[in-house]
């Protein structure tokens, strides 16, 4: 799956780190880094993290990959 965090919005509340620590990590006090394309079996975790983010900074893809026949 694919995600992107709008780090302009992110305020380092670390909710996402708490809920999906393999995907989101804080580097220091509030600099968030994350795995943009985590394994699909982490989807539930990541969706929970996105829902819990107080500023809605986590964007998850709404498609499972691109449409068939479409490149990419």
């Amino acid at each position: 799956m694919r995600i992107v965090v709008d780090l302009n919005r992110c305020q380092g509340y670390a909710q996402c780190v708490y809920l999906a620590h393999e995907v989101f990590k804080l580097n220091g006090q509030e600099a968030l880094t994350y795995e943009p394309n985590p394994d699909d079996d982490r989807r539930l975790q990541v969706e929970r993290a996105a829902a819990a983010c107080p500023v809605q900074a986590i964007v998850i893809d709404r498609l499972d990959g691109a449409k068939r026949g479409e490149t990419p």
């Binding site: 799956m1 995600i3 709008d6 580097n27 220091g28 600099a31 943009p36 709404r62 479409e70 990419p72």
Partner: protein, 467 residues
């Protein structure tokens, strides 16, 4: 039919079966394509990109990817919706003919359009000496491939890395090297790191931060040449003060070049600073006349901003690409008076040495700075930039939660120094000079360029008045 009805019908028809071409298949290109579909455009959509990859995100490249945590190919951007486009990837646009409304591709094909979006971004400035640039171990970082190669080189690990240029990307590379416990030397021509973007006062803090983390930082110096061994691998750099640095990886982080060459001869206002456009993303031609069918977004665009005295801003920031693309796409399928302006309050973030650096507004527009919150010693603070008694920007180090407070003041052209936020106030709130380098001296590597007007770049043709 009335004229109004005819126009409405034309818009409907364009939305249903028009042809839109987007050149540049990255952040701005993808978000524009998605927005076009979101707004009900069902015509044909072609996205042309010279990279062979589907759109991916660049900010992770100099951070988690270099560190080796995230593989370079794990940066594909999420899709907000189906875009149902004809993707031409791995082929560059090489020309634009505005009369026949066609984009020519490197493979000889011509792609016709009714409306065109230019989103070709920027590329990394290469090491200026081609023979030296070709040495093994000399890197730049802009693309997925660049990041992959540099990450591999860092994993070796090298005995020392030399970073040339201490802008945001150079500083992030230095930070990753220290996290990986690799010795690193940073050479910066300006007086301190980040000085072009944040000024000398903040630059001094960034310099201290680098030194505290064991970076061998050398400011006010240039690298005059790189030397390789008999196998063509870089081994040493000679600095402008005559000293040398032994390094087996060199990262040239010398800023960027706007991808406008393919627009040569098109008659658009495209040049060194990017493609000029109005606040709605509509491109200007070389005479300053707005076009109807060509739009620009992202790093390659430069547009006037009402908060900054209508100076043309060129911004190499992630949110500018997202928002600019959304605005341009909206305007491509709407007519006046439904155009939207791209009046984003600029902002960016950078993670380095375990500190979250964020800014809103345009710091180089300010000439004064005042610390308003927190503690510089602890590297947790907020500072505001002022220009003629009004607040024009703010920067935070590990104080990101307060950015919104300053953002609001900037949007309202609030007074400078700003009213104290009443929390965590430093004892001394005296404004001081922000110490930006003279913009006419090409030293620092600004990420936002106040481009203004350059009479020497005059490309318009002036005709004598006829009687």
């Amino acid at each position: 039919m009335t004229l109004r009805a005819t126009v409405a019908e034309l818009v409907r028809e364009f939305r249903a079966s028009g042809r839109i071409v987007i050149v540049g298949a990255s952040l701005a290109g993808l978000r524009a394509a998605e927005t076009l579909r979101e707004e009900g455009f069902t015509g044909s959509l072609t996205v042309i990109g010279d990279e062979a990859y589907e759109p991916y995100d660049r900010p992770p490249l100099s951070k988690q990817v270099l560190k080796g945590w995230v593989p370079a190919d794990h940066t594909k951007l999420p899709r907000m919706r189906e875009v149902d486009a004809d993707w031409r990837l791995g082929v560059a646009a090489v020309g634009l003919d505005r009369v026949t409304k066609q984009v020519s591709l490197a493979d000889g094909e011509q792609v016709p359009y009714d409306r065109l979006l230019i989103a070709t971004g920027t590329r990394a400035r290469q090491w200026p000496n081609p023979a030296e640039a070709a040495l093994h171990g000399v890197h730049t970082i802009r693309s997925r491939d660049d990041a992959e190669q540099l990450q591999k080189a860092l994993a070796e690990p090298p005995s020392r890395v030399l970073v040339v240029g201490a802008g945001f990307i150079g500083s992030e590379v230095a930070s990753v090297c220290r996290e990986l416990d690799i010795p690193v030397t940073v050479v910066e021509r300006g007086s301190a790191p980040l000085v072009g973007a944040l000024g000398g006062v903040i630059g001094e803090i960034a310099a201290q931060m680098q030194r505290d983390h064991g970076v061998d930082l050398r400011c006010g110096l240039g690298v005059s040449s790189l030397e390789g061994d008999s196998e063509g691998h870089v081994r040493r750099a000679r600095l402008s003060d005559g000293t040398t640095v032994d390094a087996d990886v060199v990262v040239a982080s010398l800023g960027s070049i706007r991808n406008v060459e393919w627009l040569e001869g098109s008659g658009l206002a495209a040049g060194f600073w990017g493609v000029g456009c109005d606040a709605g993303g509509r491109a200007f031609d070389i005479n300053g006349v707005v076009t109807d069918s060509i739009y620009v977004a992202g790093d390659v665009a430069r547009a006037p901003h009402v908060l900054y005295e209508y100076q043309f801003l060129a911004m190499e920031h992630w949110d500018n690409a997202v928002f600019g693309a959304e605005v341009a796409a909206h305007n491509m399928v709407n007519l006046e008076p439904h155009y939207r302006p791209h009046l984003l309050l600029p902002g960016f973030w950078s993670g380095q040495f375990g500190v979250n650096i964020k800014s809103v507004g345009v710091p180089p527009f300010g000439d004064e700075i005042v610390f308003t919150q927190g503690s510089v010693e602890e590297r947790r603070f907020a500072a505001a930039y002022g220009h003629r008694g009004r607040i024009v920007a703010a920067v935070t180090f590990d104080h990101g939660k307060w950015l919104e407070y300053y953002g609001k003041l900037i949007e309202q052209s609030g007074s400078f120094p700003p009213p104290p936020p009443g929390w965590d106030q430093p004892p001394d709130m005296k404004p001081m000079p922000a110490e930006f380098p003279d913009p006419r001296v090409p030293t620092g590597i600004p990420d936002v360029v106040l481009t203004g007007h350059a009479p020497s770049e005059r490309t318009a043709e002036f005709r004598p008045r006829r009687h």
